[in-house]
Symmetry: D2
Subunit: 304 residues, 4 copies
């Protein structure tokens, strides 16, 4: 089945699932998103764009930003990054402090909140205006110079950041945060508040399908080896503490966010983004996960 047919099939089949799950409610901006939306986009290395549903409706990318912040930190630090953050699945919820205490303030991986705060701390140390660097990368990767954050969401995130502040202070007490907690939280909340749509996000994943090179402009984002390794990290850690189940069902490297978006990649083939606001218990888009499972089943394409 070709991609357009696959996407049409998914779009039709997913409709009854759009009633299930719960929209994130911890900030009013997310709680107020109309929940019955669904979009999906596939952008191939050859440049073909396939999209269905609300694939051009911008949404809050939230934790998907952690992937791109990590790319920038890896560019800056290389393997030294791993002294401050691990690369193992956490086995505990994304905002847990238990593991941090047992492991002396070193987060398990860069995709849980604590790890992303360390990554953001690195960006704060390396850049004069760290709020802008993830946005800048996403503009280059998507080819869309308009990519930016929603200031109301950024403010709201910042006002509800006590749990993240707890993690940041906790890591600082172990010496694993260099910049002031308030600064790191500001930058972190700006990253989470970036808004993009499925097509631009699918396109932003192409460098991972292309062994580290952005096909839009030929820019090498990461080495081929590091690009593959980042995909491996997405597979084992990219979908909160449901990564095992997600790998089992979908079989693609992916990163999700509580805004309902999930980005994924098929090596040497395409970037994918799906979005639907209602979340399952693990915090991943319910319809989005199912759509990706259908996608690999119908195309016969997973990495396994």
């Amino acid at each position: 089945m070709d991609y357009p047919s696959v996407l049409e099939h998914i779009h039709a089949a997913i409709q009854p699932e759009l009633e299930r799950g719960q929209v994130a409610t911890y900030i009013p901006e997310l709680a107020g998103v109309p929940p019955r939306q669904f979009g999906m986009a596939v952008v191939t290395l050859a440049g073909e764009v396939h999209a269905v549903g609300d694939a051009c409706v911008p949404f809050s990318i939230q934790s998907i930003s952690k992937l791109f912040a990590l790319v920038l930190a890896l560019q800056a630090e290389g393997d030294a990054l791993w002294e401050r953050v691990g690369r193992e699945p956490s086995g505990t919820p994304f905002n847990s402090l238990v593991q941090l205490e047992a492991e002396c303030g070193r987060p398990r991986n860069p995709f849980i909140n604590a790890g992303a705060l360390v990554v953001t701390d690195i960006l704060c140390s390396r850049h004069a205006v760290p709020e802008h660097v993830v946005t800048g990368l996403l503009r280059r990767l998507s080819g869309n110079p308009e990519v930016t954050w929603n200031p109301r969401v950024a403010r709201s995130e910042r006002m509800h950041a006590d749990r993240n502040a707890a993690m940041a202070h906790f890591m600082k007490s172990f010496g694993n945060l260099r910049n002031p907690v308030d600064k790191v939280l500001d930058v972190y909340c700006h990253q989470c508040a970036i808004e993009m749509h499925c097509v631009d996000l699918a396109r932003s994943m192409l460098f991972l399908a292309n062994r580290g090179v952005n096909p839009l402009n030929g820019e090498r984002v990461l080495t081929a080896s590091l690009s593959k390794r980042l995909s491996a990290l997405m597979l084992t850690c990219g979908t909160y503490d449901a990564a095992g189940d997600f790998a089992f069902r979908v079989g693609l490297p992916a990163k999700s966010g509580v805004g309902g978006g999930i980005v994924a990649v098929i090596p040497d083939t395409c970037g994918i983004c799906v979005w639907s606001p209602r979340l399952d218990e693990a915090g991943n888009s319910h319809a989005g996960s199912l759509a990706l499972e259908m996608f690999t089943t119908l195309t016969g394409r997973s990495i396994f």
Copy 2:
């Protein structure tokens, strides 16, 4: 054996133990205290004062302040306090966040840091200048109007408060902190920085020996019932996660601080304070614990 002989005996016997244990080092003001000091005071309900060694050398009372902050919070809130903090031994170190996560931001008891932050939050809600209320109570209880905090210690505590900030933000994320984290931490650090000597602290314990009434001025501090209950709480939770061992060896309600002080009470009899800066692994004064164990052995007086 009468009290003076007992104290003399302890003072002599404790000398070799003054080499053991480690002074607290997390702030320079504590790390710099000459470690080979030891003082002990017993003040009876009849008003007799017995003291040996460095019993009139002021030291940083640190967590001993948690006892007096709790007295004020109980005066203000009564049993409503227990909705926000438990009264069970924690089973984990005094600055652990693990239990907080499992129990939704409600600390196990008011004598671990998290619990004391909730107590301080209550004082912040109830008093215009909350920095002064614990000092005020200690002045009335000790009869010494000069009791105050060391501003350098208070500042230093505040600069090293990341772990406590983590707890405070964590509890705030569960709705169990009402005032701004910075405000609560400021007041908390001022309480910890109060300096007193053994005689004044032993005298400040008399209300607990006297069923809740301050014998110096006849003021009822707590009801007789609540006074007894507070002693029970000291026994089960007052000496960090060594409370079981302390009750086993010493058999008196007590509260310790990382400045090396320990206050204790014998119901209907006397208040006691011992001080020696070197701490055992649980954070209690090594020589202080031993001195109290000798005291109950030599006098045959414990609560059991």
Copy 3:
């Protein structure tokens, strides 16, 4: 108020509480106990016996046996016992394995199941017929030569012992169990299945009120010092993970069992036993705890 009046008062006041809580259901013999029973007995050092309600109805003493098994192990091992088991409140439920894993197979205290299994292991190493030694001690302490276990309860306990078997094997994997797991569990289940009534149990507590000497026959059971220390251990660890709350409310050293019994002691004064089958969430008798709280309130006697 004198003891008879106090007990009458409690008996009347407790009636509405007999509907609350749940009988233990993990074995049919406990699940089938008529729940609306209540008995209480106080036996003074002078030999007076005061009792109300079902104070002469035998019940399954369950974990109360842990106290007497510990007495025997302390007689045999002295302080060496503490190398194999701690004396701190556990902070986790009585049948938890989490703490054992973190602390390399050394239970927190002898009153949680894991600790009692170590105590039983010691009795197995020291006695040819270890099933009989706790019964023997209770016969001497109560003066009742008929004290024995219920064989149906013992069998039923043994058939539902998987959780205890897990603990025993776990400790054995750390080298903290010397005898075969099956042997230790057999003896342990026999101890739990002992049946006694309130008057006999209250009398069995007198040695703790009498500084270690059984007043019935003048036999020294423990040294005065160890007797006091055992009382301290009961206070901090005797009522599962509600020991802090129990000390706060009742203020007496006590040990409870899931059969609904609670024994307690007032030093130099009397032994107490209360029984009512319905349990609160922590596994202590609901009406029994309340009755003891009333008792210390009405008599003004607690250890604090």
Copy 4:
């Protein structure tokens, strides 16, 4: 570079690494294995066999047996299996009981010991002589009718099975084990004691490279979909709590054992087995992990 050259290159480069790490010591049969051995085999779907070093020296497959036991349990139970065991990385060591307690006796995945015991319990329910079924599958997959277990290793495992007995009893207390604990442990220890060499094990992996069909005899072992999903599970859970790091460095689905073996698969391409007895801290073969990392680097073949 072709496979023979790659293997030669690895064989030469790995020599200095053979001194590092520790042989498993919990049973004498493993402790006594000469540590400086290294073998590696690649068997392609076309039937080519490439091998270096000690690739034909039999070793104790240990936890590699968990993979094949799971295949049999999936054949028998299908998706119903997942009601009794999860498919998430554990985040804790392979023999931890902590997670079991928090999640009511349901192991995180079938590759940690607790999960493998549930899998073995299923085989015990389904087969008259469950000791033989994993051996039987491995004979069919490897084409070697001589595959069997080492009876001395099986006996030794059984004598040191207290930790596994603890897990089994613990799960039984939650109702997640149907057969007698002793029976399950017997069968489990026989599985762990199977001995095979690298060539036979690499061949036994071909069904996973071949979408579920054993290329030796055309037998369908699993559906294509389930075969892929099993590979996904190996990637996220197959190498103890180093699965994230292993995926990051190696990028292949794999399963390791404390005997020093690691099996891996490249979808649609080949089965791989590497063996070297010395283990890293996570319990994976130190040289084996490095050899697989070199293999994917040199061939440019990983799943990402």
